[in-house]
C-alpha cells in the first residue's frame, strides 16, 4: 500500500497543553475512501486529534501525515485538499451567506461556488441573510456547503451534529452522506454518540483518556468479537488474553471476547455483539499504554 492510499497516518502523535497531555502515543493508519468515525467520551482528545489532522495544532511528539503530506508544512495545495468543519460550525456572524461564499472563493484555490449555491437553494437557505441570524441547523448546513465547495479529498468534521435537534441532525447527515455517495471524499468525523454509526460508517477509531483503544474496519471488528454467555463463574477466564470484558450477573457470566474464540465449555453460547456494546466495553476498560487494538486496516 502506498502512502497516498492512506487518508491519514499518524505515528506516535502526542499533544501536551499546559494542563497536561490531551493525546498520547497515537498511531493510526486510516484508509482513503469511506467514512471514519472517531468515538470517545467528552475530554477524550477527539478535538485535539482532529485539529492536529487539519494542521490547526502542531503535535508535541510524532508526525501527522494527511493524504501523503506532512500537515505542518501547510502549503496552499495541502490545505485546499482538506475541508474542516469545527465544533459548533463557526461562521462570520455578520457576514451574509453570500459573503461567506465569497470568503470561501477568496481564500481557496478551487471553490465550487455553483455547487454551494445549489446545495443552499435546495435547503431554502437565503443568500442575503446574515449568518448569525440563521438557525443552528442552517448554520451547520452553510458551514458544510462551504467545506464541500472546496471539493476536498478529506473532510474532517468535529462533532458535526452534537448541537443540532433531531430533524436538523437527520438533514445534515443526509446531505453529508449524499456528498460521500457522489464519491471521492473521505470523511473523518468525531462523535460521542455511538448509535447510528453502524449505518453510516465504515471505519472506527475509539479514543479514551487521550489514547486510541480500538481502531479498525467496523465489519471486521464485529466479525472478530463475540459475546459468550454461560453459567456464572469466578475463575479467571482470560487465559488467552482475548477477553475484553467480563460481566457477572446472579446466574450468568457474559464475556466479550476477541478473535472469534469458540465457547470454552459446554453450556456456553456465542452471540454477535452490537457496535454500541463493543464501543462501550472498550471505553470501560482501564486505560493502559499498550491497550490499543488494531484490526483490519488493510482488509
Amino acid at each position: 500500500m502506498t502512502a497516498t492510499e492512506f487518508a491519514l497516518r499518524t505515528d506516535g502523535v502526542g499533544k501536551r497543553y499546559r494542563r497536561g497531555w490531551a493525546l498520547r502515543d497515537c498511531t493510526l493508519a486510516l484508509p482513503a475512501g469511506g467514512v471514519i468515525a472517531l468515538v470517545g467520551p467528552n475530554g477524550a482528545g477527539k478535538t485535539t486529534l482532529l485539529r492536529l489532522v487539519v494542521g490547526l495544532l502542531a503535535p508535541s511528539t510524532g508526525t501527522v501525515e494527511v493524504l501523503g503530506h506532512d500537515v505542518t508544512a501547510s502549503t496552499p495545495q495541502t490545505l485546499s485538499r482538506v475541508g474542516f468543519l469545527a465544533q459548533d460550525h463557526p461562521l462570520y456572524k455578520r457576514f451574509t451567506v453570500a459573503e461567506m461564499l465569497r470568503f470561501g472563493r477568496a481564500c481557496n484555490l478551487r471553490f465550487d461556488q455553483g455547487l454551494a449555491e445549489r446545495r443552499l437553494a435546495k435547503l431554502d437557505i437565503p443568500l442575503d441573510r446574515r449568518a448569525g441570524t440563521l438557525s443552528g441547523g442552517q448554520q451547520a448546513q452553510v458551514a458544510l456547503a462551504l467545506a464541500l465547495a472546496k471539493r476536498p479529498d478529506l473532510l474532517v468534521l468535529d462533532e458535526p451534529v452534537a448541537s443540532l435537534d433531531p430533524l436538523a441532525r437527520h438533514e445534515f447527515l443526509q446531505v453529508l452522506m449524499g456528498a460521500v455517495a457522489e464519491g471521492g471524499v473521505t470523511v473523518l468525523f468525531s462523535s460521542h454518540v455511538v448509535h447510528e454509526l453502524e449505518r453510516v460508517c465504515d471505519h472506527l477509531v475509539v479514543l479514551n483518556h487521550g489514547r486510541v483503544t480500538l481502531t479498525g474496519d467496523i465489519d471486521t471488528l464485529l466479525a472478530e468479537h463475540r459475546l459468550l454467555v454461560g453459567p456464572r463463574t469466578a475463575t479467571d477466564l482470560d487465559r488467552a488474553g482475548t477477553v475484553v470484558e467480563a460481566v457477572h450477573s446472579d446466574r450468568h457470566t457474559t464475556l466479550l471476547v476477541r478473535d472469534g474464540a469458540i465457547p470454552a465449555a459446554p453450556g456456553w453460547q456465542a452471540q454477535p455483539v452490537a457496535l454500541e456494546d463493543l464501543v462501550l466495553a472498550y471505553l470501560r476498560r482501564p486505560s493502559e499504554p499498550s491497550a490499543a487494538v488494531t484490526s483490519g486496516v488493510a482488509a
Binding site: A58, S80, Q87, N108
Partner: protein, 325 residues
C-alpha cells in the same frame, strides 16, 4: 484577502476615519482663523511676545479666542491609543472568541500569509490615520508653539513622529494581548492601560535622559526685583527646562530650606533679596534641553515605541507560527 480584511474591519476603519475626519476638519477651520492672527506667519513671532508690539497683540488674541482649544487638545494625546488598540484588539481576538480562526486557517491561505496580510493592512491603516491627524494637529499648534515652544507635554506628545509610534505601540500591545487573552475587550483594556503606563513613565523618566541636559550658572543680578530675575539670557522660552534653582559661590546647589533661610535673613535685615543674594555670591542655575533637540528627541522616542511594537508583533507571529493558537 483584501476583500476579506476590508469586510471584517470596515466598521472600525469607517468609525475611526469618520472621527479623525471630523476632528481634523474642525481643527483645520479653527486653525485657519488662528493662523490669520499672524499676518507674517506664526514662526516670525516666535520669542517676540514681550518685544514686538504686533506679535504681543496677536498672542493675546490667540490666548483669549483659542486658548480653550489648546486645553482641549491635550485630550488628543489619546488619539493614537484609540486608533491602534481599536484596530489591533480584534485582529486575532475576535477570531479566537468566535471560533472562526478554525475557519480562517483551514482554507487554502496559509496562516502566516493570512497574518502577514492582516498585520500589514491594519498597521497601515493605523499609521495612515494617526499620521493624517497628527499632521493637522502639528499645523494647528504652530501659533501656540511659537509662543510656548514644542517641548511641553501638550506639544511634544501630539506632534511630529511620536504619535504614529504611540499608535503602533498600542496596535502591538492590543494584538498581542488579543492573541494571549483571546478576547477583544480585555485586549483593548490592556492596550489602554499599557499605553498610559508606558507613556507616562517614558515622558517623565526616560525622555529627559535622551541627552545630557545643558546647565547655565550665573550670579544673581544685583538690580531688579525677584520677578525680573526670571529673565534668563541663555535658555529661551522654547527650551525645555528640567530644573532651576540657586547654588552657592562654589556651585553647590542649595536646598529649599537653605534658600528660605537666606530669604528670611534678607527680610530680617530689611535688604533687597537680590542684593542680599548677590552679596553672598549666590548663583542661579538652569538645567535644560535646547529647543533644537526637538527632532532628535522625537526620533529617539519614536524608535523606542516602534521597537517595543515590533517585539510585540514578533511575539504574535511566533505564537501563530508555532501553532500555539
Amino acid at each position: 484577502m483584501t476583500w476579506l480584511i476590508w469586510r471584517q474591519h470596515r466598521t472600525e476603519v469607517c468609525v475611526l476615519g469618520l472621527l479623525v475626519g471630523m476632528f481634523g476638519i474642525a481643527l483645520l477651520v479653527l486653525g485657519t482663523q488662528a493662523h490669520d492672527l499672524f499676518p507674517g506667519g506664526p514662526a516670525r513671532c516666535a520669542g517676540e511676545a514681550g518685544i514686538n508690539e504686533d506679535c504681543a497683540a496677536s498672542f493675546r488674541r490667540l490666548d483669549e479666542e483659542y486658548g480653550y482649544i489648546e486645553n482641549l487638545l491635550a485630550g488628543f494625546y489619546l488619539v493614537p491609543v484609540v486608533i491602534g488598540a481599536f484596530l489591533g484588539a480584534p485582529l486575532l481576538a475576535r477570531e479566537l472568541e468566535d471560533g472562526t480562526w478554525q475557519l480562517a486557517w483551514t482554507q487554502a491561505v496559509p496562516r502566516m500569509r493570512w497574518l502577514a496580510a492582516k498585520l500589514a493592512a491594519l498597521a497601515g491603516v493605523t499609521v495612515t490615520l494617526t499620521a493624517l491627524f497628527t499632521a493637522v494637529l502639528t499645523w494647528f499648534r504652530q501659533p501656540f508653539d511659537a509662543w510656548e515652544g514644542r517641548f511641553q507635554y501638550d506639544a511634544f506628545d501630539v506632534e511630529g513622529l511620536v504619535p504614529v509610534a504611540y499608535a503602533l505601540f498600542a496596535f502591538g500591545v492590543a494584538t498581542a494581548a488579543g492573541a494571549i487573552l483571546r478576547r477583544s475587550l480585555p485586549a483593548f483594556g490592556v492596550a489602554f492601560g499599557a499605553f498610559l503606563a508606558a507613556r507616562m513613565s517614558v515622558a517623565l523618566l526616560a525622555r529627559p535622559a535622551y541627552a545630557t541636559p545643558l546647565t547655565t550658572m550665573e550670579p544673581v543680578p544685583v538690580g531688579g526685583s525677584k520677578d525680573q530675575a526670571g529673565h534668563r539670557p541663555a535658555p529661551s522660552f522654547a527650551d525645555w527646562m528640567i530644573e532651576h534653582g540657586y547654588a552657592d559661590a562654589t556651585g553647590r546647589r542649595l536646598s529649599g530650606t537653605e534658600y528660605y533661610e537666606l530669604e528670611g535673613a534678607a527680610n530680617r535685615a530689611g535688604t533687597n533679596l537680590n542684593q542680599f543674594l548677590h552679596a553672598r555670591g549666590i548663583q542661579q542655575f538652569e538645567v535644560y534641553h535646547p529647543a533644537d533637540r526637538f527632532w532628535t528627541f522625537q526620533l529617539i522616542e519614536a524608535a523606542l515605541f516602534v521597537a517595543v511594537a515590533a517585539v510585540l508583533i514578533g511575539v504574535v507571529v511566533w505564537r501563530v507560527r508555532r501553532r500555539m493558537i
